[in-house]
């Protein structure tokens, strides 16, 4: 059959679907059927919300977080550290190759209409950027459990259909302005000298503190309902403008 066209030969090479390994097939089917779908759906909603809220990068890469900051042991930082390190030990995750995890730092923690939003970020000796967050799950008191956190390392940031995806390589790529529920803004200042950030839009004008340790900031913006974007102006301790950027809420 050497005279067939390539296209015909391609068709002839259509594989017979391989039989699934019977033991694996039955065990996997049973595992799937045991899955608590309602709980999984709720978790998926939280993850999607979390992904959206962590997945909008603003592209500037100046600051490094966590490598020199000092926190007392115990409390959320220990849990976040443990969660990320456990994650990195799992095979075939984006946490593989983590190296030594630097101490996580709180980026922001604030109340929203559906509970407490909190996010931590940590870098590692191999340049990974890892995060942990809780979006309305942890009540903000005491220490969160690992189950109350979403966490991960690195990953691809999908900014929009017309923008090439970016690799998460810097903490200040995290965050943005989000309106999928109560509007909120958070992130890591690209300017380490910033001590405050002014958030402005029609009907919105407030100044948020920038944390010394993580350079993080964040707040719910209930007054921003219907506002598609906000302008962030980063200021130093003397009130000098270090830079501005516009955060546009993702659609959909």
């Amino acid at each position: 059959m050497t005279t067939d066209s390539l296209a015909a030969r391609v068709t002839d090479l259509a594989p017979t679907p391989p039989a699934l390994d019977p033991d694996w097939s039955e065990a996997t089917l049973a595992r799937i059927l045991r899955d608590d779908r309602a709980a999984a759906r709720a978790a998926a909603v939280r993850r999607r919300r979390g992904r959206r809220r962590t997945a909008i990068g603003l592209g500037l890469a100046l600051s490094a977080v966590g490598s020199t900051t000092a926190f007392a042991l115990g409390g959320p930082i220990d849990v976040v550290t443990s969660a990320i390190e456990d994650f990195a030990r799992q095979p075939n995750t984006t946490g593989n190759g983590l190296g030594e995890l630097h101490e996580p730092a709180l980026v922001a923690q604030f109340d929203t209409d559906h509970g407490v939003f909190a996010i931590w970020v940590a870098t590692s000796s191999t340049g990974k950027v890892c995060y942990a967050m809780s979006d309305g799950v942890w009540d903000g008191t005491g220490t969160p459990t690992k189950k109350e956190l979403e966490y991960g390392c690195g990953g691809i940031i999908w900014v929009g259909d017309d923008v090439p995806p970016q690799e998460l390589t810097s903490p200040d790529q995290l965050g943005g302005y989000f309106t999928d529920s109560e509007p909120l803004v958070y992130g890591v200042s690209p300017w380490p000298a910033a001590t405050q950030v002014r958030v402005q839009a029609p009907g919105v004008d407030r100044t948020l503190p920038v944390r010394d340790d993580s350079h993080g900031y964040g707040a719910a913006l209930p007054e921003a309902v219907g506002v598609p974007q906000v302008t962030l102006t980063f200021l130093d301790a003397q009130g000098q403008v270090l830079g501005t950027k516009v955060s546009v809420a993702p659609v959909g």
């Binding site: 390539l6 002839d12 090479l13 017979t16 391989p18 097939s25 089917l29 059927l33 984006t94």
Partner: protein
Amino acid sequence: MSTPEDADFSEAWRRDGPRVAAYVRRHVAPDDVQDVVAETFMQAWRRWDDVPDPPIGWLIATARKVVGNSRRSARRRTALRDRLELLDRAARPEADAGMLATDRMAALEALAALPDDHREALLLVAWDGLSPDAAADVLGLRPGTFRVRAHRARAALADLDPPTDLRAATPSRPLTEGGLR
């Protein structure tokens, strides 16, 4: 206790699982196939009420996303040699396909050389057995756009096809003990 939904899903698993696995095999390393298939069906189970009947197009579209989320597979797809290796592993063996090994490899090399989106369009129909409209759904394309893409893929293959008489003059195995070809 088993429900009608359990039974429907179990039937889909046994019927369509191998087809999904066949799709996945040409995109990820053998060690990852089961993980991708399991994740695909887990997602199906969690939204079984919304999964269309028949589910195969939805399942392959979901498997495609699961594969796309795998950074290992993304790396793997970037290398022509790796693409060829995956296709070689996934395709029907030459004996079953009734063709010479060299013809088979020439076809796979041509496939591997196609742009990813062209190859995907071609194989969703030719290998996965989807209708053009179902394949368009998998790729998130309008049917017309899909047909154009599939046509271009076939045209690209035709461009790579040597004339019949040239193939006949280039036997695929040594003609002499000395290796004259």
